[in-house]
Symmetry: C2
Subunit: 421 residues, 2 copies
């Protein structure tokens, strides 16, 4: 369990977290940077993600192909992702190859070369990635949802940027973003698996010595307004995301909102799944989700349905949002608690998700949360807490994003009227 | 490692495989049936998958909501999938809840009620699932690929069936398919995690006593012919799958074909990734894959690219197929070996994938393959073996499926000419 995390903060300010799991043959290692899309300017939207791609394209010590070959020579995996608040670089390796993994992640974060030819080719790759996302309706609809929820501000922009911005992105923007954000204080490294803490600390000291120094700037606070996005597209399904403003990490309502999402749309026994899929057969996919951030967050519901089925889907969904504010049973609360607790235990069986969790806790709370503390918080939530958080969330101005044959999807104004009724 | 699998074949003919992993808190349990889409008639295409959905919709002992609630009350997950050769039902639970999981999987396989009202609603759900697949270009293109590779035969049909067949599917087809295929001899159950073999055997004896008896029929042999599918669709990317006939499980060329796929398109250091994405920036996604079956299989390459980039992509890909028949380096062979071996070790850390692996080995080979034996087979493959299997595979008549803005994607006849040149 997470009680066994060892923590060392180096003189540079970089924190090293490790969690030893003796019985596995592998180790996961990652560097987690507290910067992402919401730290970008409008003119440079997509730079955090572009930088994440370019980190793999060569350093002072290694070419792009050297990096790929070194990791795959030992059967390892290296990957990265960019989100709105975070960029992560991580490897999974057999335990004896940990040193190589720390070396390479350190190298790409400290000595990236941003070769111009490589950059031009990578621009093409990212344009293809944008095309692929746009071709996947249940992917791109979430970008439109985010943008409608947080219009004209960093928190609402797409992680990939836009075709136009990526075509015009200047080379210097990438090392510029890196120098400003990839500092020891704004980064945490985590390793989980069959390892020794002291060995990891020593490796990190050796390979992360050249991180840049810079003053941290706070991103613009997220200002949820809600709003609407509609795109008619010739598809079989109308893809619909309906959302609201919700608690961020660390807010008192955070655990009630997680339990609300679980019992409303978190599994096969949830209300939306039962009512909309099982009783009415209107969808294949329907679920609710929370997207917490440092300051506030989103609560959302996704559904994919046929053109004519959409007419029935929305009123039934809105009725469920009303019902859950009136009545929650002890049985469904207990079930939602069991789902969250078991999910927590199951996630601890993967070295990669353990790294993620401890790094995220460190970045948000400045400490590692013992599993027992999380369980106690889940246990403490009452039926009344859930009704109250539902009333609070579903009273915020909604966000609606919909894409496909959407003639039967009600307008946002209509949804607002029904919610107020 | 897989050496620790305990095996009991019950008097009914049902085999129980277990693998004990003491240090985890969870257990995975699944029932794997040797029947899928290729065991269907043309008129009932989709019945295996429809049946898999209906199994969750109620038994003589439990309603659909009872099943969902029972599993989620203890924070467990229950799911299922249908492929061309197999149908699987599985749960993941905390270790103390194993008995419940075996009870429910046994109940849905032995006592499913196929209620008519539930069936009508589930028909709607499956029609939505078909719509969702059709809206996802890098999903549906693989159905068209399969159909072009194996035209007019069970092996080429889509797992979901077609809208028309699903609309007309009669209730009796479902229990009919179940009675014929869900027999003890055509099923294996596997459990991995923190468990005792004897306890699992006892639970299975108790809950799988009422499986049907039936003579097994062999499916029609797969007859690969290759062929072409083209669909112009207004998308950002042309989605392309190019494939060939390849070895099935257990054929002597199977491991050489796996190593070929790994070094040609299996990771960041692979030839296709390096040449097409890293050197030319033509794609975001490109990879090769093998799809082995009991009798023969497929080797394929997927790429998603822009309309104009497609013109450059195909000749470069075909050149790589020619080059690998001429020359393979020791370094890339060693790297591919390391990737397969490490992937094998990493997969053993998940209770779910262990269940999958042992069940599949039992169904295909009638025994559990020790990891050391698999490693030895990977080690034994030489550069010459890879060149030889490449020459054999890429000499078969190709299959081409392409969807999107495909004006610049060469025709199959053109590809055949280039491959012969």
């Amino acid at each position: 369990m997470s009680e066994d995390v060892a923590i060392t903060t180096l003189p540079s300010g970089l924190t090293v977290l490790t969690e030893r799991m003796e019985r596995v043959e592998t180790v996961s290692f990652g560097a987690y940077i507290g910067a992402g899309t919401r730290h970008e300017t409008a003119a440079e939207n997509g730079v955090a993600h572009f930088l994440e791609h370019m980190a793999f394209k060569g350093t002072a010590n290694r070419s792009a192909v050297d990096i790929a070959e070194a990791i795959e020579n030992v059967g390892g995996h290296i990957n990265a992702y960019t989100s709105r608040e975070q960029t992560a670089y991580y490897v999974k390796l057999l335990k004896e190859d940990l040193g190589l993994g720390v070396d390479i992640i350190g190298d790409i974060l400290c000595h990236s070369s941003f070769d111009s030819d490589e950059l031009e080719r990578e621009r093409g790759v990212i344009l293809q990635e944008i095309g692929q996302a746009n071709d996947t309706p249940d992917d791109i609809v979430f970008d439109h949802f985010q943008s409608a929820a947080y219009p004209s501000q960093p928190m609402g922009r797409p992680v990939l940027g836009t075709e136009q911005i990526i075509r015009g992105m200047k080379r210097d923007a990438l090392p510029g973003f890196m120098r400003q954000h990839y500092t020891p204080e704004n980064m945490v490294v985590a390793a989980c698996g069959n390892l020794q803490h002291d060995q990891v600390v020593e490796l990190v000291q050796q390979h992360f010595a050249d991180l840049p120094k810079s003053e941290l700037e706070q991103p613009m606070p997220a200002d949820y307004t809600g709003g609407e996005f509609r795109e008619v597209r010739a598809l079989d399904q109308a893809h619909i995301v309906l959302g609201f403003s919700a608690p961020g990490y660390g807010e008192p309502d955070y655990y009630p909102s997680m339990l609300l999402s679980t019992l409303l749309g978190g599994g096969m026994s949830s209300r939306l799944f039962q009512e909309i899929r099982e009783k009415r057969g209107l969808v294949y996919s329907i679920y609710s989700f929370t997207a917490p951030a440092a300051d506030g967050g989103l609560f959302g519901i996704y559904a994919g349905t046929g053109e004519s089925e959409a007419a029935e889907l929305m009123p039934v969904t809105l009725e469920e949002l009303a019902k859950v504010q009136q009545h929650v049973t002890e049985a469904e609360l207990n079930r939602a608690r069991a789902q969250l607790k078991a999910g927590l235990l199951m996630s601890l069986e993967s070295t990669g998700s353990r790294c993620e969790q401890v790094a995220r806790q460190w970045q948000i709370f400045g400490r590692i949360i013992p599993a027992a503390e999380t369980v106690a918080k889940i246990e403490a939530v009452t039926e009344a807490d859930i009704r109250a958080v539902a009333a609070k969330i579903f009273r915020t101005r909604p966000t609606l994003a919909t894409l496909g044959p959407i003639s039967q999807v009600p307008k946002l104004s209509n949804i607002i009227d029904r919610l107020a009724a």
